[in-house]
Structure formats: C-alpha cells, structure tokens
Symmetry: C2
C-alpha cells in the first residue's frame, strides 16, 4: 500500500528564526499589525510504499532523522494518512 | 485573544518540484527506496491577535495571499488553533 506521510520540520522553540523575523517585518509593512510572531519551517509530503501504517511511520521517521531535519536546530512531527 | 495560525504552502500539483526531486534522490542514496515521491513546501506558524477565530482566519488568509504564497506556483491551507 502507498501511504502519504506529512512531515513538519520546525526550528526549535528556543532558537531564533531569522526568516520568520524577516517575514514578520514584511507583514507589518503591509499593514498586518495583528501578527505578533512568525516561525517558518518545512512541510514535506512523502509517498511511501509500506505494508502498514506503522512501517510507513518508521520509514518517514528514518527519512526525517537522516536527511530532512537537522536535530541540532530543528524538531519534526509526522502524520501518516 | 491570541490565535495560532498554521499555514501550509505547497507547490501546485501540476508543477515540478525540483527541491523534492533532489531530496528523493538523497533518500534513495541513503537506502530508503520505499519512498516514491517527495514534495516540499513551507510550514508557517503565525501568532495573531484577533477577536474571533474567523477574524484570525481572515488575517492569516490576507498574509498568505499578500506575502507568504505565490499564487502562480503555490497553494496554501490554513488551520487556526
């Protein structure tokens, strides 16, 4: 079966997110002053061939740990559908 | 009240995603051959000061249309929590 894994990779909460800060400045320049914080990460869709949802989750987790996320600066969460 | 908007910005389905293709090659090099397709977009968290969930959604939608997503190449979806 083919599963879709949705992986969100976000900068760790304690770290600065310069890209988010830049976008926040841009939103304020556009008049969207109600926005007080922006954090930007990656949203990744994987198509995974696996026998079960659990196996698909394991493969997605492997992919995130080995390539998609940098554990020093980023955390990730996986949702299999 | 402060709401958190989670916005996913993804490349449109009909368009090539060169970043995804590169990552797919990387995953195969690492032996993760069960992954058949990768698409990569942005995952954005906004903190929004608003009176209601609907107003927060409206502000997030404005932000996505004006700055966060390029409608020619990307689609977005918003989830307010």
């Amino acid at each position: 079966m083919v599963f879709t894994a949705q992986i969100n990779v976000m900068p760790l909460k304690d770290l600065l997110d310069p890209q988010g800060k830049a976008v926040l400045g841009g939103l304020h320049s556009l008049g969207l002053n109600n926005v007080s914080d922006v954090r930007i990460g990656k949203h990744i869709h994987l198509q995974i061939e696996a026998l079960s949802k659990e196996e698909a989750h394991q493969i997605a987790s492997d992919a995130a740990k080995k390539l998609l996320a940098n554990p020093v600066m980023e955390m990730f969460e996986i949702n299999i559908i």
